[in-house]
Symmetry: C2
Subunit: 269 residues, 2 copies
């Protein structure tokens, strides 16, 4: 029941992964589209996972995507070029010290970035300075603490908490999704509106069983095994049983639930 | 920060509670409406909390609402009469031995009932017998294990687990929401489709802060204090701190999340 499959060469499998990707893209990004002629800052674009969707959904907006890592920027640039999109400019920069004049952008977009920052409010305050009055801020984050599943398992929750604890030790917060409202409010934004986006997975949604529960979430937890053991957070047998129990939720009678949070707010002053 | 207010006499407060009730009603019931002339069995109507909505949303369907308790039935009958609804018939009966012929109903509806049963699948199998071929089953349940909030609190989770454990000891399952897919599948239903319905609460939704986090969820947890202490599940100081921490989530920077699950399935054979 905890078998892992070798994938990637099976065309049916590739279709499934595309289905999964489009299901998640739809869930998180369906209501983000910027008007023609507006300027959008994507802060922390990484390898461009969201940039392609952002640029595709707002073909006549001018998007500026920044990241700290030159290497990630090169990958993001390649992804955008491969998608045939021409409305994105890339710039290297530190989110706390970006090379733009105040009030340069109509909109700011951050996705899966705040979770890695020790000072998310300070980052939001800096980004707010770059936003024109009346402009919008959109933030999307996951929340590992929202995870619940059937069959339930104490050890699976313990394995997940290893990832949360390691991210905390690195200065981040893997449970930040639920905090978007207070974070944006504290940073001085107005009209903060948060909507939860739950990924609900059961056997009637095989593309999510495979693409989300198995290959996204459980693979991510399993990926911290060595670090968790080295940090003394858990013993190997318990961790492995926890991961097996997460894979167990992908059986025909299993259920898996994870919630992303999306916030949209306005800069009134 | 853990003060409790005396409410009930303030007309503004009554408006708020009505707002809250309609928000939840909308969230859970907006997509349940039965066609004119169809027959609907509501199994386990209790005091009629859902019956009024059910009857109002399907004014030309004939609803039969049953409950084990004559006393609850009398209250449900009064609630339906007070709402001016005339399309509900009440019958006393045991969900495992109902006084109806097989295939008597076009639709069956159960809400907040399975969570109290030691044998939810057997109940679903019995209800399925009363359904015509091609008829639909709708089930709605909460899931206390889905609860997450900000600020997070180990003791608040411990207090919630007291309620879960007491319900388990009484033969029920307060985390049953996530299990609707496997339960309906095991009972032999087809085309089972589950949708999560998260109640997301922050200070921008004051009617839910008051009506859901404070008066519904936290009041419910606080209500098991004596039973939890008597059962030796927790000590008084920890429980009280947990409840205080739940009330803490109703402050302006707090956030509270709870998920209900709704399943609709078909009887094909």
């Amino acid at each position: 029941m905890a078998r892992r499959y070798v994938h990637g060469y099976d065309p049916r499998e590739n279709t499934r992964l595309q289905d999964q990707a489009s299901t998640l893209v739809q869930l998180l990004h369906c209501d983000t589209a910027y008007a023609a002629g507006t300027t959008v800052l994507e802060a922390g674009c990484g390898v461009g996972a969201q940039t392609v969707t952002l640029a595709r959904n707002s073909p006549d907006a001018q998007i500026t995507s920044v990241d700290l890592s030159e290497r990630s920027l090169a990958q993001a640039q390649a992804a955008v070029a491969a998608a045939g999109l021409t409305n994105v400019t890339f710039r290297q920069g530190d989110i706390f010290d970006l090379p733009f004049a105040p009030e340069s952008f109509d909109h700011v977009f951050v996705c899966f970035v705040l979770e890695h920052l020790a000072e998310p409010v300070r980052a939001l305050v800096e980004l707010k300075k770059l936003l024109k009055v009346g402009g919008s801020m959109t933030a999307i984050e996951g929340d590992h603490g929202s995870t619940h599943f059937h069959p339930d398992s104490t050890k699976a929750h313990a394995a997940i908490r290893c990832q949360v604890e390691l991210q905390r030790q690195a200065g981040g917060n893997a449970n930040i999704g639920r905090e978007l409202f207070p974070l944006l409010t504290e940073a001085g934004f107005d009209a903060v509106r948060v909507s939860p986006r739950m990924v609900y997975v059961d056997a009637s949604r095989p593309e999510l069983v495979e693409g989300f529960t198995r290959k996204t979430f459980t693979a991510m937890v399993d990926g911290v095994r060595a670090a968790a053991l080295e940090a003394g957070l858990i013993d190997a047998a318990d961790f492995d049983e926890g991961v097996r129990d997460l894979y167990r939720t992908t059986e025909p009678d299993g259920v898996f639930c994870y919630t992303f949070f999306k916030a949209v707010a306005v800069k009134n002053a």
